[in-house]
Symmetry: C4
Subunit: 196 residues, 4 copies
């Protein structure tokens, strides 16, 4: 089965997710500079979620460059990932509306854990389909960045009971860790395969 | 006529349908955990419809892998399917808002019947264009899963007059039946054609 | 210049236009069958506009199959068409809300005239780029359907001052005329070129 | 790394940005011709932003025709551009709601500066990846139009403190300057490379 339509459909869904968040930046009723100020919390939430969705798209792009074919299981693992990503606009808005209070911050972290888990499940499904000796499997390796991210998310959720701002800071830290696209795959691809 | 743009356009429309449903998950005005609880009905509706739209996309993907060319009739049969799919967000929200009461549950079932019928019409149009001896025609076979689904939808609509929750359960059952992508086509493709 | 991205971008915009109209079908606050009844005007408007946007997509698809390359003028002529198409959700909702009263019906007709004119401008730009002896130019011919449509739209706008329902009926008539995709191009393509 | 998915994803995001702006053209509650009149400011804002987003899509299209491959830095430079473009619907609505008053006009100009800067950063990232002697680098040249645009935006922001309408006029002037797609690249491509 070709990967073309899976990529196109995922691109479409991720493009919509990343864009509809901006619909929740409601235009102020008045027209002075300080009328924009109450939006700052929502704007910060929007920017962070934009970066997170951008990271997922980047990694999706990188991963599928090492993918040669897919099967029905991969289709569903990918839809499962898109399901959790599609909830990011909801938790983003709740977090922004609440001015970063406890439960919205925890929900945001829980959603990031669901997205990260769904991504890992998709990778495992892909590796099973390609075999343990494939370029993909070698490129993923032991997934150190994925494990450290999950640990930071969990820490952030616990800390949110005491100090939600620190949790938000930890979400920013994970975004910084992933900001650099997954060079593992890029490097493996360069060294082991040839571009067509 | 090439199938490329029909696939791209359908991917776009289905991606939007599957994503805009989340816009109806309205952010709560308060910020405690129990403020999320009233959303649970809408969340369940959203998850079920996400799976249904995912199933349609998967089957669309599988079907069109066995399609070699299209004509004007296929374009319209496909748009007819997309029309009924585009109403899924509406019935999903009504069902969620109503906490699964009688008429919204019936409307949801009626919409599933319209989508299933539109899919069948599209398949018939495709088979007519490709001929009765084509890979596509053989792969579809007698469409047992399609017929059993329609029977369950009809049963669910009747039962909704007495017990809407049972009807909802039957919609979940059909989703489970289709969760496994249409292996008929996949198997035929593997055994009769070669990937290009 | 390749036509690939122009097609992909147009597919994306048209897919969004055809789908966001459904967001205006607001879910009723109550949950009986008769609560759906007030939506019937909006539903009819939605269905008609879905068919019109579908017709534009079909004709766009057919036209660009005969297109070999594009230039900057074609890009802008295409964006001009998309601009007027993007206003269809607005006039559709206004017409539905008004229960088909005079001015919304006239505005809807005026919008159809703008879309039809924009399409004609795009065709002229394409023919100029390909030359008068190209397959495209011959396939378009004297554009009888286009001219008759404009005449019916104009008649409908005048009649709306006396009887808006007749105007709506005329919009349905034009949709029926165009329902059959533009076979002129299809036939020319079959007889003069070979599929690749 | 191939440029295909970057183009597809950008097309998707830009298609959504250009289309969701129309959702803010709220349907009037009454149904006479003069009920449309209060929308005229929003309509003018919508039309100008449609043209601006169209210009960005056109230039994106032209630029990436001269691009042979991309890397992780280009992915992020492109996402950075899409981030600022995604805020255009927000500033468009604020400007339209305010009937072109001072601060919304200034914010609109500031957003145009951010988009223009993000585009320049993307170009620099692409040129670095392709080398100073590439077709792309030669085609961009000294980017006179980009520099003059930034100067006009800055002038418009200063003038908005005294006369916001003049600023709006200057935004229209820049749109006219860019209306003609970036022929520099088109010409270079024709003279130095061959279409495939």
């Amino acid at each position: 089965m070709h990967k073309g339509r899976l990529e196109a459909f995922s691109d479409g869904v991720i493009a919509i997710i990343i864009t509809i968040m901006v619909l929740e930046l409601k235009v102020p009723d008045h027209f002075n500079l300080h009328d924009l100020q109450p939006l700052s919390w929502k704007f910060i939430s929007y920017a962070l979620s934009f970066i997170y969705v951008g990271i997922y798209w980047n990694n999706h792009h990188h991963t599928f460059q090492a993918v040669h074919s897919i099967n029905g299981r991969v289709l569903w693992a990918n839809l499962h990932l898109l399901f959790w990503l599609s909830l990011i606009p909801f938790v983003t808005n709740w977090m922004g509306d609440s001015h970063f209070s406890k439960w919205p911050i925890i929900t945001y972290g829980a959603m990031l854990i669901m997205c990260a888990s769904a991504y890992t499940i998709m990778i495992i499904t892909l590796v099973r389909h390609h075999g343990e000796n494939s370029v993909l499997a070698k490129a993923i390796g032991n997934d150190f960045k994925g494990k450290i991210s999950l640990a930071i998310y969990a820490t952030a959720i616990v800390l949110a009971f005491f100090c939600p701002w620190v949790s938000f800071g930890l979400y920013v830290v994970v975004a910084c860790i992933w900001f650099i696209p997954d060079r593992r795959i890029e490097n493996r691809l360069v060294s082991e395969t040839k571009p067509d």
